[in-house]
């Protein structure tokens, strides 16, 4: 296996480009998980719905992109908060498995609903020439988007860290995440905090969907399944509940996928398995993830 420097650099650029998208979506997972201790199986499908909203906003209703994007984020936040209210809030005191089943149910429902409403045929996401333009740097082709996505991800990371660490809402979120019942006793309105968290998570899914749509300009009902699972895995690798960890996990997963393809080109068919293998390894070696804290299990 020979790999010249230029090809290697190209692979590296590809890996960063995919990884930064994973990272962006993984943050949403980690936020919700950190507070609710729940894998939001529907996150990938909220992401899919956001992509459809963006498609309709731009390609069907011909809104200017900045209006469309703000609308998409707004509608997706409403969707996320609505799902929380309808499907998760009634189960707050139910066993964890019920909530998990509910999450799977929501995901199933959104996929079927999208198939019913928008048909199974994929739609073309509008093209953004400014973002998809290719830059040639020393023989390496890079889309403008590849440079923009990590910037957006890092920017969002700082905004979120600020919210979580330096605002009242963030303090309440941390309190709920540390101990749900005590937080309630301390007068924190749990339902509202959780709804806000879902809203933030969904807005991240919406931003992720818009950028994802620019890079992979195709919208279909099942588009959220694999990104959803992989980004959850990225969040676990980084240490679920840890925002910085999610970003790190996203980049690690993206690079691992692309570099494995680069090193063993005969194994390309196994690419989707890499995420799951990584997940199982990480869970065995370091279940709390790379940046996760050791938490004592409550008896």
């Amino acid at each position: 296996m020979t790999l010249d420097a230029q090809t290697f650099m190209q692979h590296l650029a590809n890996g960063i480009s995919v990884g930064s998208l994973y990272a962006l979506i993984a943050i949403g997972y980690t936020m919700v998980y950190g507070i609710l201790r729940l894998i939001n199986f529907a996150h990938g499908d909220i992401f899919m719905m956001a992509a459809y909203f963006a498609f309709f906003g731009i390609a069907v209703f011909h809104l200017p992109w900045y209006v469309a994007f703000l609308l998409v984020i707004g509608v997706t936040v409403l969707l996320g908060a609505g799902i929380e209210k309808a499907a998760y809030r009634p189960l707050r005191d139910a066993p964890k498995s019920s909530v998990l089943i509910s999450a799977i149910g929501v995901s199933f429902l959104l996929e079927n609903l999208a198939t019913f409403l928008f048909s199974g045929k994929p739609k073309a996401f509008p093209d953004f020439p400014a973002m998809t333009r290719v830059l040639e740097i020393k023989g390496i082709s890079i889309q403008v988007l590849t440079l923009v996505v990590p910037l957006v991800t890092i920017l969002l990371l700082f905004i979120l860290l600020f919210i979580v660490n330096h605002t009242k809402l963030g303090m309440a979120m941390r309190a709920v995440s540390k101990d749900y019942e005590i937080a309630q006793v301390m007068g924190i309105k749990i339902d509202r905090i959780i709804a806000y968290t879902f809203g933030i998570g969904s807005s991240l899914a919406a931003i992720g969907a818009i950028l994802w749509g620019m890079k992979y300009p195709q919208v279909s009902p099942l588009m959220g399944v694999m990104p959803g699972l992989k980004c959850f895995i990225a969040a676990v690798i980084g240490g679920i509940g840890n925002i910085k960890g999610a970003v790190m996990g996203g980049f690690i997963l993206g690079l691992a996928e692309v570099l494995l393809v680069a090193a063993f080109s005969s194994l390309t068919g196994y690419r989707d398995a890499i995420a799951f293998i990584l997940l199982i390894i990480i869970l065995l070696v370091r279940p709390t993830g790379l940046l996760g804290e050791k938490t004592a299990e409550k008896v």
Binding site: G120, E136, M226, V261, S265, G269
Partner: protein, 383 residues
């Protein structure tokens, strides 16, 4: 206690439902033809197109032997378990005389045993996997097979002077794997070079990122890339290749010929070359002229006609002609009539059913994308 009540209610309900599943009224003046297609799930797009053609054919030819032909459409949900129940339902409950379908060879194979055991003839419109009609006297098809299509494309590539080809295949798709394989075999034979396939990249259905395999391919400098697979992923493959600066021609199969492929691919799929069954701009038979005219009337909002729609139309007509020839709706008689079809003038050319149950076709159409449209390039005849 409420639970107990509900459970008993549910149980009795299910018994009633089960009873409801069986038994239908027989109507002597109606001939039923089952349409067995994926209308939901992963293959929905292809299934819908095929049904369009079948419905159009039914509209134009609504009668045979003085009886009305009724289409019974069963969605097989792109899922094998559903496919067998859907087929069983068509055969047992709806008592259809013949079945058309299905898009997706694996779904057709799932219905294969049922069709064979119940002696109801089935005509596949676009299932190209050789296994569909193997060991099955009751399965036929009007399309050509993967080996033929692969060979046609290999010939075209060779004529264009390509000597080094890279393959990107959808490894979880039987159609793509089959096509890639026959292409490879034919191309090796043509070039006499064992190393003419410089790289093979695999991806899975629903994948969205192909940058890794494409970067590998770029480092091998192929003359062209053969990328059989679903149009959904293929359009993205081509787009990503272009953004990686991989500016070589892309070759594919008939599945690409959809509006979605053009919409998603946009500028980047310009120049992509495919083999297909049918060309709406140059109809080869009278039937084809009629089909193109009527299709444009019926589905005015469509810009082009997919080959699978034409094949669905042909499958319907083939069955209708067979019923006419058999002079009865007895399914064994229909089967025999289908099996002996000779020089049937369909939309996609002249069809003769061979011993295998496949349509003997020796010509394929080659098309390319130009200005956002599939345009006719060449007709290839292989002896």
């Amino acid at each position: 206690m409420k639970k107990c009540l509900v459970s008993i209610l549910c149980l009795s309900l299910s018994v009633v439902m089960l009873a409801g599943c069986g038994g239908t009224k027989e109507d002597a003046n109606v001939i039923k033809i089952g349409v067995f297609e994926p209308l939901t799930g992963a293959n929905a797009a292809g299934g819908e197109l095929e049904v369009e053609g079948i419905k159009l054919a039914n509209k134009l030819y609504p009668e045979v032997l003085g009886k009305k032909v009724e289409l019974v459409i069963a969605d097989n949900k792109s899922d094998k378990a559903e496919a067998t129940t859907a087929a069983a339902r068509l055969i047992e409950k709806d008592k259809v005389s013949a079945i058309i379908g299905s898009w997706g060879s694996s779904l057709s194979m799932a219905a294969g045993d049922l069709v064979k055991n119940n002696k109801v003839p089935a005509v596949g419109a676009s299932c190209t996997n050789p296994m569909v009609t193997q060991d099955n006297d009751y399965y036929f098809r009007v399309c050509f097979l993967d080996p033929f299509q692969g060979t046609v494309m290999a010939n075209y590539a060779y004529q264009q002077g390509y000597r080094k080809i890279a393959i990107v295949q959808e490894v979880s798709n039987d159609y793509a794997v089959g096509l890639a394989n026959f292409f490879t075999a034919a191309f090796k034979k043509l070039t006499g070079d064992e190393n003419c396939i410089v790289e093979v990249g695999n991806y899975n259905t629903n994948d969205q990122d192909f940058s890794g395999i494409l970067t590998n391919i770029k480092s091998k400098n192929p003359d062209a890339i053969f990328a059989p697979g679903n149009f959904t992923e293929s359009a993205l493959v081509i787009k990503q290749a272009k953004s990686l600066g991989l500016n070589v021609p892309f070759l594919g199969g008939d599945t690409w010929e959809t509006e979605e492929f053009l919409n998603v691919g946009g500028q980047d799929v310009e120049g992509a070359v495919i083999t297909t069954f049918f060309d709406d701009t140059a109809p080869v038979t009278d039937e084809a002229k009629k089909f193109v005219e009527e299709y444009k009337k019926e589905y005015a909002d469509k810009e082009s006609i997919a080959a699978v729609s034409a094949l669905g139309y042909d499958a319907y007509l083939l069955i209708l002609k067979a019923i006419e020839k058999a002079g009865s709706t007895d399914s064994t008689a229909i089967r025999d009539a289908i099996a002996t079809t000779k020089d049937f003038e369909g939309v996609t050319g002249s069809i003769t059913i061979n011993e295998q149950g496949d349509a003997d076709k020796n010509s394929a159409v080659i098309k390319t994308v130009k200005d956002g449209q599939f345009v006719y390039l060449d007709t290839v005849v292989i002896e």
